[in-house]
Point group: C2
Chain length 427, copies 2
């Protein structure tokens, strides 16, 4: 509970007929010098209300401050009233921009601050289906639109990502057999976890939709003896993947195709997609399901690994605007559009959100350790923007605002499936 | 592939743009004596077409026969043209009634026959959502409607069920750590599997929605040290459960409440429901989710175990009419209505359909062994009706027409959840 003074919450216990209580605040507005302080104090209290009254102190530099009677997890200082006013007009976008520009100073742990805000504001609540549909249409993931969206994020430089992703260059949730595993160990364990779920056998053929820097395809080829055809529309990633496959002597087993998942053809024993669905857009899910279904034949297995939601909701708008244009983490009800039209059986769903929080913590630590080099590659604004993105992502997964789903599926009636899941847990 | 002459199927390979091919038949209409044989042969071929041309021989006694050029898995003989005509008007209901009445003779394995029909006919395909909604409304699971529906099936006699369910009296899918486990071993393993998923700890409180004959509640109390309040609207089952709890010295730890799940109140550490959702009806899912959510507080865990579908579809209509009035096995998209309005996180979904096929095979074998006693309790029609229901259920699960989902969930933001699922697989 990161609300400002939770003592006020008790007594408003939820009943069978009402939703759970939201946090309330006991704001102690402290006297401050300056003619503008009364106005600024009022504006700060308003912002705190909009955010659901998290246990955070807020201030305008040299003017007003509102403090929390509960122990605050962090303190946020705005450079000026203009900054604060701008944020008040559209907090979920403007806060990120102001932070990136250096107009917001955080004292205390950035992740804790963002966790407190996520918990207090209850972001990610259900929206009416009409609005949902309208929002889904905003994701312009046409063939050209997808290319632009992917280029924006993934083509900013392989050297940059190499600074903090670790040896595997896997830019998706890792799997920690124990919480003390290293990032590289956990990324390798994730790859094995997926391969085991898919029951890969030597000599089989696998198609991968969205292969990132291609290391998972190499892992499947090297350790499971399969042939892989891997698709990606990021030019930078494909270039890296081909070079690495050649260097590691696996170019004959793994073919990288610089093309959209909608171009996949042929029949395979397994279809796998790790961290691509976020960029597909709900209205393309039925198409993705048709492609998966056709590629698997009657006896294949499929796995989709994706960021998700408890219920349909828009991506945090600053993240969508500045970091991941066109992205949408789906609820399982939305993902049903992939499977149900094609009678694909869902065999296993695993939610790994705590593993993604841990992965992101380790990325963030690596990133902070490399921040001087990032500044040299880009600029201070970029450093702050990506810090906020990574810290906010830790908070989203640790608070349950975002989920991480691995969904294993197979064609209806395929009985060549695992009898139990015990094989995933025996070395 | 149980289609009549699969050689005709090849060549019609599915493409990216078309659905999978359905089976086709090469019917060899054999000459037969009798003036009615031409008409009967035509009617038999029509029926076979309606069923998707399974690899089955069909005949009218003393008249016509159509055989399959592929090896047929069974032969079906109708007592008369009147029987055949009746079935043709509504095959999915009238076949079951005619079989129960003794007007249909099966030569060969009944399960194989039904598997061939399920595979060939592709039952359980997606239907438009308007129709789906209309069908959902048919399930009159009001408080009174549910009581009637449950009474119809579960109150026909505890002695009858005791003949074939085994020692645990569990009338839901078992869990076979290995396929060779006995029925009782597998039912016990299922109970432990669920308790482990729920992370039950001594001293905790559990609410069970729909408790059958109450043995799972006893198992939780005895082996996990929890207190259980268990709800059921079947009078016969509650009477059995209370008597057994007293006999086993667990009456102080387990309270059986003869009431509807909609009457659940109070706060618990875990909410569990095994094999009840099939009787809830989609329009009550949001209510069920509210009850689960409220009963769990902020740190509880929940599990729902249910028969399901790959996509929304009506229950096999004869089963709904004669065996399970008001029942509906949902697709995961329908189940989302339980979880999404209340921001419940789905943590784990396991599909155990092959385990339910195995459970049903063992029930069917027990049932056949006790058929003389069943006949003495009821009559020959009842014996045949329940044989068809059990055999048809084996076929539905073995062909992937029905699924069995265990869904583990928790309130949003509850981080007191299992780090991995390895604990389910370590003794």
């Amino acid at each position: 509970m990161n609300a400002c003074d939770e003592s006020l919450v008790s007594g408003s216990k939820s009943t069978a007929e009402t939703a759970r209580p939201s946090a309330a605040a006991d704001v102690t507005a402290q006297p401050a010098a300056g003619s503008g302080s009364v106005t600024d104090r009022w504006l700060l209290m308003r912002l705190r209300g909009v955010l659901g009254n998290p246990a955070v102190d807020f201030a305008v530099r040299g003017s007003a401050r509102v403090t929390c009677s509960a122990a605050p997890v962090a303190s946020v200082t705005f450079a000026s009233r203009a900054t604060l006013l701008s944020i008040l007009t559209d907090p979920w976008v403007r806060f990120g921009d102001a932070y990136s520009a250096g107009d917001v100073q955080i004292d205390g742990d950035l992740v804790w601050l963002l966790e407190a805000v996520y918990r207090a504001s209850g972001m990610g609540k259900k929206r009416p289906s009409m609005l949902r549909r309208a929002l889904a249409l905003r994701h312009r993931n046409t063939l050209a639109g997808s290319r632009d969206n992917i280029h924006h994020h993934y083509d900013i430089g392989n050297d940059f990502y190499a600074l903090w992703l670790g040896e595997t260059m896997a830019y998706t949730c890792a799997y920690y057999p124990t919480p003390t595993a290293t990032l590289d160990e956990a990324q390798t364990a994730k790859m094995d976890h997926v391969c085991r779920k898919l029951l890969l056998k030597a000599g089989e053929r696998v198609v991968e939709a969205g292969c990132g820097w291609g290391v998972f395809a190499l892992h499947m080829a090297r350790h499971y003896g399969v042939r892989v055809r891997a698709y990606n529309i990021s030019h930078e990633q494909i270039a890296y993947a081909r070079e690495r496959a050649a260097r590691e002597g696996l170019a004959r087993q793994v073919e990288y195709v610089e093309d959209d998942y909608r171009s996949i053809s042929g029949e395979y024993d397994a279809f796998v997609s790790i961290g691509m669905l976020e960029h597909v857009g709900v209205k393309n899910y039925e198409t993705l399901g048709r492609i998966a279904s056709n590629s698997m034949g009657d006896h294949g297995r499929g796995l989709i690994h994706t960021i998700g939601r408890n219920s349909p909701a828009r991506l945090q708008p600053w993240i969508e605007k500045r970091i991941f244009p066109g992205a949408h983490p789906p609820a399982l009800s939305e993902m049903a559009e992939i499977f149900e039209p094609w009678e694909l059986s869902i065999l296993d769903v695993e939610n790994l959100r705590l593993h993604y929080a841990q992965t992101l913590r380790q990325w963030l630590a690596n990133y902070e350790g490399a921040s001087e080099r990032v500044r040299a590659m880009f600029d201070e604004k970029f450093v702050r923007m990506w810090r906020l993105y990574l810290a906010g992502s830790v908070a989203a997964f640790s608070t349950g605002t975002l989920q991480l789903f691995q969904v294993l599926f197979a064609p209806r009636g395929n009985n060549d499936i695992a009898w139990t899941r015990a094989h995933l847990y025996t070395p």
